[in-house]
Amino acid sequence: EDQVTQSPEALRLQEGESSSLNCSYTVSGLRGLFWYRQDPGKGPEFLFTLYSAGEEKEKERLKATLTKKESFLHITAPKPEDSATYLCAVQGGSSNTGKLIFGQGTTLQVKP
């Protein structure tokens, strides 16, 4: 069964303190791994798609990397506006649709 586990559940950082969020997955034939950001009261907002091990994507202070078992979302010198819940999701090879399997998310709080 396809499964996604994110850690830690919650993370508190000081502004400028870099860190990484982890997403471990088991899936039958990875078609894509997705990172989303979710703010309170809003729907998830798409950040990145990674398709194969070794791939990396960057956007401002965020960098996503992918191995055969996990993905990391690295946050460099975070700012308070980076505070949000970060969601990881996978699309498995058994899915012939755009169906995603989500992890529970990591809630990030960045203090000034």
């Binding site: 996604v4 894509g32 997705f34 989303y36 009261g41 809003k42 729907g43 998830p44 907002e45 798409f46 798609t49 969601l87 999701a89 699309q91 899915s95 012939n96 649709t97 755009g98 169906k99 995603l100 399997i101 989500f102 992890g103 529970q104 998310g105």
Partner: protein, 113 residues
């Protein structure tokens, strides 16, 4: 470009009543998805429409849930009769192609009391 619109944003109903949630996708997006998040759990897939056809409804929990997409435009999700465990946030998302880099709506928070 207008985003994905969902309404109502909140709904409180009694157990046994019927509720209908609506989603208006981004214009021109053929793919429409329903997901939900119940308290303390991860977001889970419910179903996927391509235009007006159900491509995948493997996530629908039981026959109390009925989803429709009239004319391939907006979609409705009806829960009848509602049970306590149906409480949660229901998200709709849409995309142009089948890739899941789709756009989500803000969700409908459903509370069944």
């Amino acid at each position: 470009e207008a985003g994905v619109t969902q309404f109502p944003s909140h709904s409180v109903i009694e157990k046994g009543q019927t509720v209908t949630l609506r989603c208006d996708p981004i214009s021109g997006h053929d793919n429409l998805y329903w997901y939900r998040r119940v308290m303390g759990k991860e977001i889970k897939f419910l179903l996927h429409f391509v235009k007006e056809s159900k491509q995948d409804e493997s996530g629908m929990p039981n026959n109390r849930f009925l989803a429709e997409r009239t004319g391939g435009t907006y979609s409705t999700l009806k829960v009848q009769p509602a049970e306590l465990e149906d409480s949660g946030v229901y998200f709709c998302a849409s995309s142009q192609g089948a890739s899941p880099s789709y756009t989500f709506g803000s969700g409908t928070r459903l509370t069944v009391v």
